[in-house]
Symmetry: C3
Subunit: 138 residues, 3 copies
């Protein structure tokens, strides 16, 4: 059995946003007990992340790390027409994930205790982001 | 239903090559309307990338970024027997993706407007690269 | 058909550990000839890696690279309560993979000649790590 749904999110600019509960709700409503939940983000300047869900400082540090690794306005970059944060957003996306697959068991995504699923917005401005979620199994 | 195919590509050395059309063709020929398309690259010095498909400068900047992050001939590396670009190619592969899964709907991969799928060659020389594509669904 | 299993591993601290044979054994015991093998790590300070399996120096160089990119005790990090290697372990996990999907054909994972699957422990101390493996197909 396959169930496919589109989810939309409005981000408030750069930062990471938990989508764990919306995914768990969607999976439980499919009635699929055992299988896989595939999450796909249809954008190239935002990404998906599995991250520690307890201390928000972890996600603060990830932003700090990315700002050092791929800083906005980096003079070596030539794709600048869409602003100083656009090419760094593409770099951050390529270094992380546009798709994630999670195991489903007992009708839920089988995440570890400390794992949360996050939509990671890499643009400075608020954006509308679209996900396709495909749950397959029995 | 499952359909599994092997695709081969000849790269012309370091750089990224669109494989979007070959994947879309393959998916449409399976007759699977809804499900998933899994793409797997059987190599450790090339990778797969979902990237902005409009301005080629984006992929120029990604090469520039990787050349700063993991430069060829980096004196700290010890695995040098296969040339100065071999270990950097392994690093670039580990930081990106050997497998991608794309949602399939209406008989096509449901990519975003600006998303293209690229085979990213990290070796300086031309190489033959093999992909296994598995389409599953209904 | 879907077969889902949990595997546990005891790591001996930071480093990468081959899990290729345990995965191949598990896949062959499911009786699934053609499909996909999904591997999911339920932790945020260890990851999964497809890597060159011939020269151990490749994995030595990957550690050297990560130690330069995300050093333990980096003074810019604020999440330090769990030790100087904890936040770097989260960073390394986000830059690599918590899930991998491998094609299955003829009852085996269809890896390339030089591809091995590794559990990559990013904490300095020994840890118990749990994987969920989901094999689907026909």
């Amino acid at each position: 059995m396959i169930a496919q749904h589109t989810l939309e999110f409005e981000t408030r600019g750069r930062g990471s946003y938990s989508i764990t509960e919306r995914l768990q709700d969607l999976v439980s409503r499919t009635g699929i007990a055992s299988g896989l939940c595939h999450v796909f983000l249809q954008h190239t300047s935002a990404s998906l992340m599995l991250c520690e869900n307890a201390d928000p400082d972890v996600r603060v540090d990830l932003e700090t790390f990315m700002a050092r690794l791929a800083p906005d306005g980096d003079p070596m970059l030539v794709h600048t027409a869409e602003g100083p944060d656009d090419m760094p957003a593409h770099i951050r996306t390529v270094l992380t994930h546009s798709d994630l697959t999670l195991p489903v068991g007992s009708g839920r995504c089988l995440l570890g205790t400390w794992q949360g699923v996050y939509l990671w917005e890499h643009r400075q401005s608020a954006c509308r982001r679209r996900l396709t979620v495909t749950v397959s199994g029995e």
